[in-house]
Symmetry: none
Subunit: 129 residues, 4 copies
Amino acid sequence: MVSINKTSSKPYYEQLMLSIKQEILQGVLVAGDKLPSVRELARDLMMNPNTISKAYKLLENEQVLITVKGKGTFVKKSDSTQRDDFRIQMLKGKLKDLFIEAGHLQVTHEELVEWIQESEEMWGMKNED
Amino acid sequence: MVSINKTSSKPYYEQLMLSIKQEILQGVLVAGDKLPSVRELARDLMMNPNTISKAYKLLENEQVLITVKGKGTFVKKSDSTQRDDFRIQMLKGKLKDLFIEAGHLQVTHEELVEWIQESEEMWGMKNED
Amino acid sequence: MVSINKTSSKPYYEQLMLSIKQEILQGVLVAGDKLPSVRELARDLMMNPNTISKAYKLLENEQVLITVKGKGTFVKKSDSTQRDDFRIQMLKGKLKDLFIEAGHLQVTHEELVEWIQESEEMWGMKNED
Amino acid sequence: MVSINKTSSKPYYEQLMLSIKQEILQGVLVAGDKLPSVRELARDLMMNPNTISKAYKLLENEQVLITVKGKGTFVKKSDSTQRDDFRIQMLKGKLKDLFIEAGHLQVTHEELVEWIQESEEMWGMKNED
DNA sequence: GTGGTCTAGACCACC
DNA sequence: GTGGTCTAGACCACG
């Protein structure tokens, strides 16, 4: 399922985090599902277990996964109680930068909005079950 | 005009690039305008000239600025004839990643679109070139 | 200042995190202060730089520190806007467990409250400047 | 009575120890009461007998339980004559760490004290032995 | 078997 | 000089 682009400049562990997050949004992974063990995934992706572990640990900090020593790592039930204002602010900042880049690439705002709608449809988001 | 946040974790040269690009989009800087010399800007912003130079060079590569030996660095007239498909693909990828993050931060697509509209209005963009 | 007990079962990086947090609460470290470089501290504490780095990184995730590549790691200005309910809940759980242990060690609730007051005075917390 | 949260990241054997200790403090279990056999409890909780055994053994070490060969495991009468200073020091250390965390989560000392009082009332502690 | 911690050492990006 | 990423391999704790 998940795959890593070893020629990208984006760190492996970030790619992995995004890949897992995407599968959760798509409903491929749901709350309670067990992720591959760090060793197993490391073998499959031909990476060092430490790198996998780093990704899992960071997703645990973000409350996306939960890991139990000796048992494995699992998708956590999202407690949609609280929004993380700090990270949302970061996100907004990134969108602004992206917006500036778009302007210089002659990408119109309408196109940006279109892209967002595309993503929404293309993935068949299963966010509400 | 341009300013650098020395406590941000974003590299100085990237901040500078974005800052210049933003001013161009806002119409503060227009095609043909002369930018401050590397030394001058380095002094004003209390930064290493190498860092300024790096930002200018990268913006030359992106066809945003143009340097004339012995004269200075200038805002280039954007040739709207061709769009850089490669970089647009990059941008689209970044937007997709941002979209995934948004999903996990419980930011709805509507909010994202709103943010884009906000930026548009707030700046009074003048990119009708 | 900071010191590590190499015979404790508590991980080095956690000890370091607590040590730094304590110094911030005590006012020994204040917003904007530069922490020792990972290499420097690693040398002083006779530890591997990776371990120091891990502690710094985690404190960055907790928004206690901020690090700028090429410059160093600094104490962050605490934005007291938002309380992290999730982590507060964790803390409350730990206090409950501690409370049970106390009961079995014949430590009364009054003693517990006393200990808290002690800490408060002993350190001369500088939380409000 | 005792129950285990299989999705918690706290080790099973620690959860079990705390659960038993809590029931003793609440008076649900009193000195002389017989605990379920290792095998029986393992079956009821769907856990590995080794894990139960480990918890019982550690509670024996802490002088909370006592095992009589061929008869079973029983709640021990607490000898309130001497307090275990070493473990009390440990406890005090943990409270100090917890206190530091509280400070960084903007939890006031008053709140901490409140939480202690809450626990006290909620359980109707019966530790007048 | 699972994940967690720590070390050692290489290479890269930023200033 | 600074921190960041990744690999390799050792040892420990949990079930």
